[in-house]
């Protein structure tokens, strides 16, 4: 486990390629596409990160919104410098998630799922009620500084990829093994004197910091944010990415986000069929390929190797 597998270097190469592509793409649409995919990948990876302790955290969507709103409020209303606004996004999201986790992580399973769902709706409704932050219209005019404006997609892609690696790093660390131990049975870690609630909160906070950063980057990439962008549905799509890509593997969320985002671009605009398509993909993936695309690839590779032997 301690030895870096060649897979990690392949992932680094992939991330560098993605950033280079965003940097060199002549068509801004293609560069934006890289940012969308990586944003969705971070959302999905963060959701999967909390799934390590066995909880489905719908509030991932809320912390994404908190990051985006923090950055936008600091940039548009307060006029603070770009770097500071981006730094504050993960910090505020982490802080709020610590509070949220401390209160709600005494529940688990279906209760935690539903509470995180209610929390996401509360946060969204609160945005709509505050006139200073634009109410339902949201905030507009978050532009990256001129110096990096042209290369913003590459910049965002690099930070998002870094967030993905950070999540992976924690997962592989001793802390990550503790998280997994909680999932399996939280009585055992408790019996050896570990503070289980503290560990659970820490897990939620780390994931929230990652999506908070993604939210801040999203605000600058999109130039506009509104409350309706941060409904529980964001987390549901993220869950779809995790399931399609494969929950068992750290690359699963990335693969799922890439595939569904790209395919989504193709089916966009055909109304009813878009829903049917997404729904059918989720249902089929869940029932036919429980390991997701990564699991499927693993099985295929296993078959090929078995045949060669």
């Amino acid at each position: 486990m301690q030895i870096r597998s060649p897979g990690v270097w392949a992932c680094v190469a992939l991330a560098v390629a993605a950033v280079l592509f965003a940097l060199l793409a002549t068509n801004p649409y293609h560069a934006s596409l890289v940012v969308w995919i990586l944003t969705n990948a971070v959302l999905a990876a963060a959701l999967r990160f909390v799934l390590q302790i066995g909880e489905l955290n719908i509030a991932t969507a809320a912390f994404f919104g908190v990051g985006a709103y923090t950055t936008s409020i600091c940039a548009v209303l307060l006029g603070w410098p770009f770097w500071l606004t981006l730094l504050l996004a993960p910090l505020v999201a982490a802080l709020l998630s610590a509070l949220f986790g401390w209160v709600t992580l005494r529940t688990k399973g279906p209760y935690f799922l539903l509470v995180s769902f209610a929390f996401t709706e509360v946060v969204r409704l609160i945005y709509t009620q505050i006139n200073v932050i634009g109410g339902n219209s949201g905030l507009v005019g978050m532009f990256p500084p001129m110096a990096i404006d042209a290369h913003y997609p590459a910049f965002a892609a690099a930070l998002l990829a870094a967030a993905l690696f950070a999540l992976y790093g924690v997962e592989r660390s001793d802390l990550g093994r503790l998280f997994k131990a909680i999932r399996n049975n939280d009585a055992i870690p408790r019996s050896v004197g570990l503070n289980v609630v503290f560990l659970k909160v820490l897990c939620v906070v780390i994931a929230a910091a990652a999506v908070g950063l993604a939210g801040g980057l999203h605000a600058y990439a999109n130039n506009v944010i509104a409350p309706s962008d941060f409904s529980y549905f964001v987390a549901i799509l993220a869950l779809a990415y995790v399931k399609i890509g494969g929950e068992g593997h750290p690359m699963g969320p990335v693969v799922g986000a890439a595939v569904l985002t790209l395919v989504g671009q193709r089916v966009a605009g055909i109304s009813a069929w878009e829903n049917i398509f997404y729904g059918a993909v989720i249902v089929v993936a869940l029932l036919a390929f429980p390991g997701g695309l990564i699991g499927l690839a693993g099985r295929v590779r296993g078959l090929v190797r078995g045949g060669a032997r």
Partner: protein
């Protein structure tokens, strides 16, 4: 001839070199096709979910305008002839999807003219890109915030509350001179929030006191509480502001049960069909500020034709929002002719002074006094009333600016 022999031999023996040649040929052919010059006109509107009918209606109306122009041989400018092609994108009524639709439309598909955009949040998302990239954006957003000299590429394609409310409320007050009190019900969304202060102020200027201004969430299913509150306040007027017709219908139905019977006003009311489908007789006599009877005697020939076609093609009549893409295409046609160019920078300079034939009749742009830039399409304000479940046009008045323009 040369090309044909290539492709035939290529089919028999598809070697890599021949395939390459085939690919090169197809690129050449594709460029040959592009030489016929197609001008893509974009639409960003909800094409799925509850508001899907708006997007579908708007796309259909724009296509009719494009077909008419194409049938006359297309649009000529700078010595070239352009055929119009409508491409519609689903903005799902949200800022994020609006921004994505805009990026896809502008960057991937190279759209330079947007002839219809619905939803304040997605329009603002789109505007952040269109103004920076110099793309013309026709939209139906109601906020003052999308207008002004800072946004010279942005044009509003339908009447907004700033055009409608004053003449509309004045007309209603003339019909019912003794109304003294009102209650305002607004959906908690961008349009509702833009409209509320203006509605309160305008009613006040007419001597009508606002007893309460209440909000409800989109997606509310039960309206008895709000109806009970209204009935107990017993106002002379209930103004439903920007509430969608389905919700207004539900509230009217409950009010009818509770025995309230006063003046019903929907300043942003567009669709009588949806209203009466829900409220039935309880919708009788309601005044609508943004609807129009495109079948009625005051409608123009073009509007009657379009409306009949829309009923057949998409199962819905048109309304003030959906027909606006037709008017935008017509305005654009006139501006491109005037500029003799399809360069958006030149077209945007031509638009404020251009005269064109909208579906309502002759029109132009104005609103400089109010917004600081002449980017508001000048259209008649139409007041309709529900009579026997059908919209009946009571008045169709041209704003003073349009009258002045027509008499020039």
């Amino acid at each position: 001839m040369h090309g044909r022999s290539h492709s035939q031999s290529g089919m028999r023996r598809p070697g890599p070199v021949r395939l390459l040649g085939l690919a090169a040929l197809s690129i050449l052919l594709a460029q040959g096709a592009a030489a016929q010059e197609t001008l893509k006109l974009g639409i960003s509107a909800p094409m799925s979910g509850a508001a899907a009918t708006w997007g579908l209606g708007m796309e259909w109306a724009a296509e009719q305008a494009a077909e008419r122009i194409n049938a006359e041989g297309g649009l000529s400018a700078g010595g070239e002839t352009y055929m119009l092609d409508i491409v519609a994108y689903d903005n799902k009524y949200s800022a994020t999807e609006g921004a994505r639709a805009a990026q896809t439309m502008l960057s991937r598909d190279g759209v330079k003219f947007v002839v219809g955009a619905i939803g304040t949040a997605p329009v603002r998302a789109m505007q952040a890109l269109t103004e920076r990239q110099g793309v013309i954006l026709f939209n139906t957003a109601w906020g003052k915030s999308v207008k002004g000299p800072d946004f010279p590429y942005t044009f509003t394609q339908m009447n907004t509350p700033f055009e409608i409310l004053e003449p509309f409320y004045t007309f209603v007050k003339e019909q019912h001179p003794d109304v003294k009190t009102a209650v305002l019900i607004s959906p908690n969304d961008a349009t509702g929030q833009e409209l509320e202060p203006l509605a309160i102020e305008t009613w006040k200027s007419l001597g009508v006191e606002m007893l309460a201004s209440d909000w409800y969430e989109r997606g509310t299913t039960e309206f008895q509480p709000i109806a009970t509150k209204i009935a107990s306040l017993d106002p002379d007027v209930v103004d439903f502001s920007a509430a969608p017709p389905g919700d207004v219908g539900a509230i009217l139905k409950e009010l009818d049960v509770l025995g309230w019977d006063g003046v019903k006003v929907m300043s942003a009311g567009t669709s009588v069909d949806a209203l009466t489908a829900v409220a039935g007789e309880a919708a009788e006599d309601a005044y609508l500020g943004a609807s129009a009877d495109f079948d009625g005697p005051t409608a123009t020939e073009v509007q009657r034709e379009l409306n009949a076609g829309a009923r057949e093609a998409i199962g819905e009549p048109l309304n003030g929002i959906t027909i606006s893409s037709y008017d935008a295409v017509m305005a654009l046609q006139a501006a491109i002719k005037a500029a003799d160019s399809v360069d958006p920078a030149k077209v945007k300079d031509a638009l404020p002074t251009v005269r064109f034939e909208s579906s309502y009749g002759p029109s132009g742009f104005g609103g400089e006094a109010l917004y600081g830039y002449p980017q508001q399409m000048l259209l008649p304000v139409i007041v309709t009333q529900v009579k026997d479940g059908k919209p009946v046009e009571l008045t169709r008045t041209n704003p003073a600016e349009l009258e002045a323009l027509l008499n020039k």
